[in-house]
């Protein structure tokens, strides 16, 4: 059993990533979900659910925001809508939303996704005991930690294998605040504006930063690409893989999905070679937008290197 989960930015892209081999689509609206390529209106969402189900694919809807009182009060109605249109799963990162979902007694499983906070098998199993049927592993968990973790988990674990990695979420409008202080206003501070920050003495670094209704978000210097490392994940049994197209080129992202789908097919057939994967990875690298690097994040880090 393996699953390729991909973000979706439009109906057309949904059709394209399904054709490219995605098994599950990940999307939502930014009132409830975090860092999405597009904030879908409800009728758009329903249309994509219909499309996915026609193709025997599944849909996960993001409800993983950090909710304040005003928005937690709306989540029950949203869950009921999602259940009514046949959504297969919601992602949740705020335990308050789990409380609401339990009470609603809907046929709507949840995936626990609290970004960087899910770092151990015992925590994953905690959420499993509380009804989660899968959990998203933090990007800061290296392969060496995944090895023992994979032996102990009682529910499937989703590992991000491609895309931008969030490293900071602030409730403050950090770009607007800076802009107001210097009185030299940025015309826009949203994701499409394409702003970056570089760390002191490292001019070559480029951390994406943007604001939306959920605050300010900052991303790792390079996007993640674990395509060459997929055999290791496969062997550990960590086979639910997420591709996040937040900063990917909308038109070519399905080709990235296709490369990962081909890699997955080779692994399933038991015929994957390093050379095959290198060729597929070359495709991923070539499709990467200008100005955005790729690396494998914390995957190869010795856990002792992190203080």
């Amino acid at each position: 059993m393996s699953e390729l989960v991909t973000t979706v930015s439009s109906y057309q892209q949904a059709a394209a990533v399904i054709a490219a081999g995605a098994d599950r689509l990940y999307l939502g609206e930014d009132e409830f979900g975090l860092r999405l390529p597009h904030s879908f209106a409800r009728e758009e969402l329903a249309a994509i659910v219909t499309l996915a189900h026609q193709e025997q694919k599944k849909v996960t809807v993001a409800a993983n925001a950090i909710f304040h009182n005003d928005r937690i009060a709306k989540i029950d109605e949203y869950f009921r809508f999602l259940a009514a249109i046949g959504v297969d799963e919601v992602s949740i990162g705020d335990p308050g939303a789990i409380n609401v979902l339990r009470r609603a007694q809907l046929n709507l499983p949840y995936l626990y996704d609290a970004a960087d906070l899910v770092t151990s098998s015992r925590q994953i199993n905690f959420w499993g005991k509380h009804g989660a049927h899968a959990a998203v592993l933090a990007h800061e968990v290296p392969y060496q930690e995944m090895m023992p973790l994979s032996q102990k988990v009682t529910i499937p674990v989703e590992v991000t294998v491609y895309g931008a990695i969030v490293i900071h979420q602030s409730g403050r409008p950090l770009l607007d605040n800076y802009s107001n202080f210097v009185q030299e206003h940025l015309d826009r501070t949203d994701r499409q504006r394409g702003l970056f920050i570089a760390t002191p003495h490292h001019d070559e670094t480029h951390y994406s930063i943007y604001e939306d209704r959920n605050g300010t978000h900052i991303f790792a210097n390079n996007d993640l690409d674990l395509l060459p490392d997929l055999p290791k994940l496969w062997d550990l049994g960590l086979r639910r893989w997420k591709l996040d197209g937040l900063f990917a080129d909308e038109a070519t992202f399905p080709q990235v999905v296709a490369a990962f789908a081909q890699a997955r097919a080779l692994l399933a057939a038991g015929t994957a070679t390093a050379a095959d994967l290198a060729v597929l990875d070359q495709t991923v690298q070539q499709l990467q937008p200008a100005g955005r690097g790729l690396d494998n994040g914390f995957f190869d880090l010795d856990p002792d290197e992190v203080k």
Binding site: A97, D116, L117, Q123, F126, E184, L186, F196, I197
Partner: protein, 415 residues
């Protein structure tokens, strides 16, 4: 008409056994400390189990409580031994542990029965459903995210009876606590396991890539005309001017940040907040903010002060940009060992260099104050000296007003 109201707890930080005693002596109703493991302040002076026990004994003798912060987000290799750690904390007489990782919460509850558990602010609890979730799990208290406002706390109070703890003073994370791994990625130090390198306080270049990856710097200029880089550094929090709002909103515990801070800071801040809360709760109708409390807090301030998210989303004035205002800086110079009313001689153990001519200030629990110049100074052999330069040196000098053993002495630092 307002009558006496429920007295919320003033919760102070205590990085060492000495600070624990000082915080309690200076009015804190409870203190929080760190153990040798599972805490987020790896550089604070953390407590052994024996020190926890003696600290808890001291607190309980004075009607106070001690909590242990064990709020890391555990990785696979951190899990072994957690149950034993919590049992030893419980057996040391600690009143509760402050935890954020659900796996450690479960461990504390199942493997150390009887130990009370509080949800750490690192879990960023921001709504009443989340509070109820954790209460259903058996937690006694939730420490709110710093992003929650007064109006939101009032609304929470109508939907939950779990104890609510809220930060009222000290440094703040610029991001949602727990949802920041800048330090992991920029410095290979795990922010959620005690290694935060405070990368949010760095100065960053802001830029875009308009022409196929060609970098274009976006440099702003401050009001002084100087180039100003992008930064995420928050000013500190102070809610001393809003104690009635916090009490009336239903906050059960007012938390002061700063397990890394000095005895001077802990004594001053605990003193001010405990005095303000006591006065408000005793007679809310006639309560007035004493400007001296505000002055007192500025004496130990490290940054400018703000109300955080309590009254709305913080704007640029709540962040550190441009030239910082010069803050008054006071040094902690000694502790009173004895006072002889007949000779008006005070005996002081030195903590920082001071001497004749310095303007000094005595302060003690219950907000007692006395300011004077040092006009004479004698060492332990009654030899006249000009200054007390040695750490822990015992000296005596004339003090015009009675002071108490345990009172502290501060002096304005010379810039």
């Amino acid at each position: 008409m307002l009558t006496a109201v429920k007295h919320p707890e003033v919760l102070a930080p205590a990085g060492t056994p000495e600070k624990l005693k000082v915080a309690i002596d200076y009015g804190a109703d409870a203190v929080y400390i760190g153990g040798d493991a599972y805490g987020l302040r790896s550089r604070a002076g953390n407590f052994s189990f024996a020190e926890m026990k003696s600290g808890a004994d001291y607190a309980h003798q004075h009607g106070a409580k001690v909590y242990v912060a064990a709020n890391i987000v555990a990785h696979e290799q951190n899990l072994a031994g957690a149950g034993s750690f919590y049992r030893q904390v419980r057996d040391a007489g600690i009143d509760a542990v402050i935890v954020s990782d659900p796996s450690l919460i479960e461990t504390a509850i199942t493997e150390a029965p009887g130990l009370k558990v509080h949800l750490s602010t690192q879990a960023s609890a921001t709504n009443y459903e989340t509070l109820n979730f954790w209460q259903n799990e058996g937690l006694e208290r939730v420490v709110l995210a710093r992003e929650v406002g007064i109006a939101e706390i009032k609304e929470m109070r109508q939907h939950t009876d779990v104890q609510i703890e809220a930060f009222v003073h000290g440094a703040m994370c610029i991001g949602y606590s727990g949802r920041c791994v800048l330090s992991n990625h920029l410095s290979l130090r795990d922010a959620n396991r005690g290694g935060c390198a405070q990368n949010c306080r760095w100065k960053y270049d802001l830029f875009d890539l308009p022409d196929l990856g060609q970098k274009r710097e976006l440099v702003g200029h401050g009001p002084d005309g100087k180039a100003e880089k992008f930064s995420m550094s928050a000013v500190d929090m102070s809610m001393i001017e809003h104690i009635p709002d916090l009490v009336e909103a239903g906050v059960d515990s007012l938390k002061i940040e700063g397990r890394m801070k000095t005895v001077h800071y802990v004594s001053t801040v605990a003193n001010v907040y405990s005095t303000a809360v006591r006065k408000y709760c005793a007679d809310p109708a006639n309560y007035q903010l004493d400007p001296a409390w505000v002055d007192e807090l500025w004496k130990v301030a490290q940054r400018e002060l703000s109300t955080g998210f309590y009254y709305g989303t913080p704007n640029e004035e709540f962040q550190l940009f441009g030239q910082r205002r010069r803050l008054p800086h006071y040094a902690f110079v000694g502790e009173v060992l004895a006072y002889d009313a007949a000779t008006r001689q005070v005996t002081v153990q030195q903590r920082n260099n001071f001497g004749i001519g310095d303007q000094i200030e005595f302060y003690g629990p219950n907000f007692s104050h006395h300011t004077q110049a040092v006009t004479d100074l004698f060492d332990e052999d009654d030899q006249a000296i000009d200054r007390a330069p040695h750490a822990m040196q015992v000296v005596h000098f004339t003090c015009a007003q009675p002071v108490q053993p345990g009172d502290f002495v501060r002096a304005q630092a010379r810039h």
